[in-house]
Amino acid sequence: MNEPKILISTFGRGEKASQIDDDRAILKLRIARRELPYNRLIVLTNVPNDAKLKEIKEIDEKAGIKVDIITVDAYDFIECFKKVDETLASLLPIDSKKGKKNPKRKGKEIYEKSPRIYSHISVNISGGTKLLATATLIACFNRGIKAYHCDSNGKKEIPLINLYEFMENINRNDCKILQAAKNAIGYEELKKASKLSQSTFDKELRKLINCKWIKYEKTNDMIKYKTTEIGLHYALQFSK
């Protein structure tokens, strides 16, 4: 059986786009399809009913290629990021890693540690709004997936600044803290809710604040911690 090759591409246009921009948008998708191998196509777009996009879908489906069109609000960064990350997560072999335990870390990792780049997925970020492309690129870095910029100049690989090892260190303790701080909460309450020892709790909380998944605010001489939208997104993803 052929190894699945999945192409994810951003596509769309800005609110002030002209006919030339529309032509460029479809050209970028065509070039990505030509330059990057695929037998499954996923398009992230703010214009799911675009006639030319539908045409491409029809052509690819006739060739036996599964095409998914995912609608995003290309001006809402958080929504774009969440949808892209969910899409990437659904394509990664996470389940096979689940349950594998590293004895040194008392089985707390969600993923087994194994440096890898997922070569079966290519992501083209040249289409759509800058915001959608930016959200897609950051999600790719976090998940260790290669991104490309395809346009009339050809295919350009974006160097992968691979942050997956950081993501692999996200453990169930972190998820507990992230979920407990869904609503703003004080230090003692959060520690109690996490059911972690003082030292573990402090270490994990510092890590989550550093990566901006938890923010804190000082009000009336009291510090309250709250999980950010991105933090909550990852907490849900990792607890699945």
Partner: protein
């Protein structure tokens, strides 16, 4: 004091909210890529705004809007010149490749990145992971990359192990690991088919920049 770095394309509105949204802004560094009339119009508008606000600015014109590595290196150079300052990088304007270069530089150097939402004209922070540099490249890997770089960008594993003073077998696992991370490529040596040749990835100069220019 804060130095604002910003990429700019057709829209002056993409940078001004960052100038107004932060206290103690000391300087603006503007990156743009073309002599296109619309881009220059936007740049002039930002210049005029800075003059009115008595805010010093510096322009950095990038040669190729699609050369990510050259752009990122130019950004690293400018960041190095302001390394003792607090920096905020607005990545909203210009081409997607230029923005990608800015995001990469921000991740490597732990610089807060922001964008201005085209619809709301509000500045929003980008959720870049604040990772330690060892999460991107370890000390040992950095040492290997430096040796390869000094050797002209490529080296045979045997020569590399000699330079590191370790057995060739010990280095092969590390090299495979680095290849999986996208830091190097391992190919058959065209001059000796029994040997491999290790090459640095295109973006390695970015990872070595700070060390070499301290």
């Amino acid at each position: 004091m804060v130095v604002i770095f910003g990429t700019i394309g057709y829209e002056p509105k993409s940078i001004i909210p960052t100038l107004t949204g932060h206290a103690n802004v000391e300087k603006l560094i503007l990156f743009y890529t073309s002599k296109n009339e619309e881009v220059m119009k936007a740049v002039n508008e930002v210049h005029n705004y800075c003059k009115k606000m008595n805010l010093p600015y510096e322009d950095i014109r990038l040669e190729d809007p699609y050369d990510l590595i050259a752009t990122a290196l130019r950004m690293k150079k400018a960041l190095q010149q302001h390394k003792d300052k607090d920096i905020i990088f607005n990545v909203t304007g210009s081409t997607k490749v230029i923005s990608a270069a800015a995001i990469i530089v921000c991740i490597i150097d732990n610089i807060p990145a922001v964008y201005v939402n085209e619809r709301t004209s509000k500045e929003e922070p980008l959720p870049l992971l604040n990772v330690k540099s060892k999460n991107i490249v370890t000390k040992k890997q950095l040492e290997i990359l430096k040796i390869i770089m000094k050797n002209g960008g490529s080296i045979r594993p045997v020569e590399l192990s000699k330079k590191l003073g370790i057995k060739p077998a010990s280095i092969s696992l590390q090299l495979r690991n680095m290849a999986r991370r996208g830091l190097i490529t391992i190919e058959r040596d065209p001059d000796n088919m029994r040997s491999n040749i290790v090459r640095n990835a295109e973006h390695v100069p970015l990872l070595l920049y700070s060390e070499e220019n301290e």
